[in-house]
Symmetry: D2
Subunit: 146 residues, 4 copies
């Protein structure tokens, strides 16, 4: 995508992900970390479902948000942190299937604002179950680094 | 807001909420159910946090999505179910505080599409920490009722 | 809403609006400028319609975007300019009626990011025809002031 | 993308576009109509600008909305019409350049709801200036066909 400003970006992303307690609660794993692209895997679990037995839309949104946020962080300089300004997600199909992956990709990285797309797919599926468009912000010097 | 088409709407909403296993995982409680307005409470917990120790944006989105979805369901006729078409959420301030409430309100209820706003506030706070605009859809006769 | 940082905010907003050539093309008028709230009026015109004879969704979005942007600018300090980061709009009902008003309101004003809601109503109507949630950004020292 | 349900989809899309008076007001032209993908071209014009002399965000949104709507319509059966439920657009870079194209693509076409992405690029540019995620709805038998 773009040359990363921090050659050590993968370690920074992995360290930060490890501190996101909510990702552990969801059973999500950080599968791929590239400059400008991050994949997070997760599975169907009873405790993550909505009233019809599918994964709750909020689970898809949570994992896609983290994938987008870490895709954005992967292109930021050392010491910068990332916050979600906003995101929008469309649910495209019921999240049937056993295992899923959310892929976050940077579309444009600015100094302050980074725009990303996120896509959630069943691991054995061809078409996405959800699609996100997200705005991330770099924060600096507020004790919010990484 | 509008006269509910189902006089028994509160029971339907409460029954459906009770089946959303993910709300139990988040420790969320269904506090208020009115025709066109639903409040869901939840608390800060370590296992729901992001890398800076605040509640993950996905937690705010998940609870606001359920509040919006149930506000929409409260105005639907018996037998109809609700699905999230899409939602968009802005994070307004770090979710500091011990206890929060997400309020979902119907702005316009159509036969197929219902549009809602959601707001997340700290219980002891004055200004919202997140704001949602959501599109919900009524589903009928697909084994997805309530 | 908030105390404006520029006592002369109304003049700044009016001067900038007057430079938005597209608002003139739409026949839009700047009706109300308060600190954190701006109203823009516009009328049904043949040249602004979509295929069914209603106002095009893009017209509603354009005017609501300007109303949100100027609501945000009204709270910024002298010399700052405003850019739209993103917006999301729901169409709630066909835009029937002769005259409309878009109201933009600041929900949260930060140093960089301001979040606004926009609402479009028919002047003689009770319920909104469109609803927006928008993210605006202050720009400084890039030749983009006001 | 998908096999069109109407072999005559291009004519239907072109006829409907010709009735969108607002597209003529913007000087927009329907450049490409494929099953599930539509391109609309437009140019920088003084009367479409915002306060800094760039194209107004609402212009980008209007053309991208039509491109998404017609991409959706291209996959609908004869007699169905299309309405915008909602859209969200991120502005990625100032719309500098003389000529632009908005490309709308269907991501998922359901019986009622179709989800699309839209992208606006300068004709001589490599990276997009705006990106949209839109929800379209099929309408039937309400005098809103095509």
């Amino acid at each position: 995508m773009t040359t990363p400003r921090d050659p050590d970006f993968e370690r920074r992303v992995r360290d930060s992900f490890a501190r996101q307690r909510f990702m552990a609660t969801l059973g999500a794993t950080l599968d791929v970390v590239r400059a400008g692209e991050v994949h997070i895997g997760f599975s169907h679990r009873e405790e993550l479902t909505q009233q019809h037995g599918y994964l709750h839309a909020g689970v898809l949104a949570s994992v896609a948000d983290s994938a987008c946020g870490y895709a954005a962080l992967s292109l930021m300089e050392p010491g910068a942190g990332v916050l979600s300004v906003e995101f929008k997600i469309n649910m495209l199909a019921p999240a049937t299937g056993a295992r899923f992956v959310a892929v976050g990709r940077v579309v444009r990285a600015g100094r302050t604002i980074t725009v990303c797309t996120g896509e959630v797919r069943a691991e054995d599926g061809t078409s996405p179950v959800a699609m996100m468009q997200a705005t991330m912000m770099a924060v600096r010097g507020k004790g919010l680094s990484d």
